[in-house]
């Protein structure tokens, strides 16, 4: 909670920076602020809920804190990664502010208690991202990305609102808990349009986590946006969206799961197939990662699907999003450095093993993690999903997941092969990576490995 305020405050400070001329200090301040936010966040973990006055609207329970922890940590790394990206742009301050505001939205999504906060959270997160996606003003691709994101996004929010309205109409409340209890009290006499409302909300959320068939925006936006913004989208935004999804459906609509589980199964299947198969065809790394993020979304949805009533899914998803976020941060960090010359295709990676062995190694780990090979964290993430799925009636989905992950290995390997094998035809000039960025990449890689070897560190934390 305090974390939320701190970050909003940082956003405002950032805006002042230009006026009071302390741009140079901004990054340190922001980093400090984030650390502080993290600290508060962590404290709340131990001494329960904070400011109770807003309880009806927003409350950081353990689950919320877990997710916001991940988000804040990711953001921390992201800022370090992005510092030179801010340098080269002359809207530094605005960028800072926008990213921080987006973070605020994300944090709200991890712990909303009310449809209002859900909706506002989504919008607060999205609107800055629309801008950021389009922030390369001269780059038509970037513009298009922002534009598409905006149109599709607000179209989806339209459906979200329609759903919320219908649910409100049926239950007479925006409060998650009240909706939940209302459902449990009169399951039988729910009007038909309530279900439609739920379905609409589901659809909107699927859009936000970019699950097929509502994924179309993702590849284009990911590709068009500046690399680091893409990184932000595929980590912070996704995590937040999932936190929201989880809370909304595991808490709010758990009572009517029989309505949405079926749909979810279909969505997952579609996402797995479409994402993996089209990813296999991509030559642009960012686009490929976009599709891969869709398939990962499908995996996380599977967890929700698997434990509608049990509570294992929480730590499973937390672990998954942690693994995925850190993997992607490392990956995008490297993509960002490799594609400085504007070439974002896989060829850009040729001979990276020679041009910068350390980065090549980190990228390898990241790719293996995304592909889910032991002893990376990605493996355990997948493992959790499989374990969750095996007991459910959705075994066919599991088999599909297995096959598609084999396909997945196919395109992750393409990068590795490019780095280690295609070293003849490329001119072997070294790739310089800033100290700070190297630190981030290496650090995330290490985390990926460590929680891959000792998943207990994380997995055991979220038994609630």
């Amino acid at each position: 909670m305090k974390g939320l305020f701190i970050i909003s405050g940082l956003g405002i400070i950032a805006m002042l920076a230009e006026i009071f001329k302390f741009k140079k200090l901004l990054l340190p301040i922001v980093l400090l602020g984030i650390v502080a936010a993290y600290a508060f966040n962590f404290m709340e973990w131990n001494n329960g809920l904070s400011i109770s006055y807003f309880d009806n609207m927003i409350a950081f329970d353990k689950m919320g804190i877990a997710f916001s922890g991940i988000i804040i940590a990711t953001a921390f790394f992201w800022f370090i990664l992005a510092n030179d990206y801010f340098e080269e742009d002359n809207n530094t301050v605005d960028h800072f502010a926008l990213v921080l505001f987006a973070l605020v939205g994300a944090l709200m999504l991890t712990s909303f208690k009310n449809m209002t906060t859900l909706f506002l959270g989504i919008e607060i997160m999205s609107i800055p991202l629309y801008v950021l996606a389009a922030s390369k003003k001269k780059d038509i691709k970037s513009n298009e990305a922002g534009f598409k994101y905006l149109i599709m996004g607000s179209f989806a929010s339209g459906f979200l609102l329609f759903g919320i309205a219908l649910v409100y109409g049926a239950t007479g409340s925006f409060d998650i808990m009240q909706i939940r209890s209302f459902i449990s009290q009169n399951t039988a006499s729910l009007p038909l349009f309530f279900y439609v409302g739920v379905v609409m909300i589901l659809i909107a959320m699927c859009f936000k986590v970019s699950a097929a068939p509502f994924h179309f925006w993702a590849p284009d936006v990911y590709q068009g946006s500046p690399t680091l913004i893409t990184a932000l989208m595929s980590t912070v935004v996704k995590t937040a969206a999932f936190a929201a999804f989880l809370r909304l459906f595991m808490v709010g609509f758990a009572g009517v799961s029989e309505v949405w589980t079926g749909i979810l199964a279909v969505v997952v299947a579609l996402s797995l197939i479409i994402a993996n198969f089209s990813a296999a065809m991509q030559s642009n790394v960012k686009r490929m990662l976009a599709f891969s993020s869709i398939s990962h979304a499908a995996f996380m949805l599977m967890v929700i699907l698997a434990n509608v009533r049990s509570n294992l899914s929480v730590d499973a998803i937390v672990y998954y999003s942690l693994a995925y976020s850190f993997g992607s941060i490392a990956a995008f960090g490297i993509v960002y450095n490799v594609s400085r010359n504007g070439n974002e295709n896989i060829e850009a990676f040729n001979g990276l093993a020679k041009r910068n062995p350390a980065m090549a190694f980190c990228m390898t780990v990241a790719m293996l993690s995304l592909a889910g090979i032991p002893i990376t964290s990605g493996f355990f993430a997948k493992y959790f999903v499989f374990t969750a799925m095996i007991g459910t009636p959705y075994k066919w989905l599991l088999i599909l997941a297995v096959i598609t992950s084999a396909v997945g290995a196919y395109y992750y390997l393409k990068v590795i092969i490019a780095m280690y094998f295609k070293d003849q035809e490329v001119e072997t000039q070294k790739i310089k990576v800033e100290m700070s960025q190297t630190m981030v990449i290496v650090l995330t890689t290490i985390v990926t490995l460590v929680i891959g070897i000792i998943p207990g560190l994380v997995a055991d934390m979220f038994k609630f």
Partner: protein
């Protein structure tokens, strides 16, 4: 008259107009016209709000939409001086497909809205909920947090549009 109460007449007329204007928004070739039709639609909606005892909301609606947002639209359109002949048109095929899609959506939604018990919208002699006092209470008690946080939203929009809008000083 004709067995309908005055309100029912009003409702009917407003609804009809709203839908008419909405359709015009979609189908008129000239963007400027669409804007104006949209404004008309909003007025009809304001009417509905009044019917529903949401007086304050009706005012705000007019002010915000008709007064601010639509003007903004108009402004931009003027800026780009878009008009009938610059207006790009979709192929009929896509239009039809779009129509079909919309029709289907309508079908399923309406289908799903059927069968709800006939809840009559009762009117209390003095239904206060729509009034400023009442709304203010709710807004600043229960919805304080969203209200506060909405400022962040607006701030973000502000910063964002400025950043996008302003020329880069090289």
């Amino acid at each position: 008259m004709l067995g309908y109460t005055i309100t029912q007449w009003l409702f009917g007329i407003l609804s009809f107009l709203a839908i008419m204007f909405a359709l015009m928004v979609v189908f008129s070739r000239n963007p400027v016209n669409s804007v104006l039709y949209l404004v008309m639609t909003f007025f009809c909606m304001a009417g509905h709000y009044l019917l529903l005892n949401a007086q304050f909301l009706a005012i705000v609606h007019i002010v915000v939409y008709a007064g601010a947002i639509m003007v903004l639209f108009l402004f931009v359109i003027m800026l780009m001086n878009l008009n009938q002949d610059t207006e790009p048109q979709r192929t009929w095929l896509t239009k039809i497909i779009a129509g079909v899609a919309g029709g289907l959506l309508l079908f399923v939604l309406v289908g799903s809205l059927k069968g709800t018990e006939q809840l009559q919208l009762q009117s209390y002699g003095a239904s206060q909920i729509g009034l400023v006092k009442n709304l203010g209470k709710v807004l600043f008690k229960d919805f304080l947090f969203p209200f506060e946080i909405a400022s962040i939203l607006l701030l973000a929009a502000l910063v964002g549009s400025i950043m996008i809008g302003k020329k880069d000083i090289k």
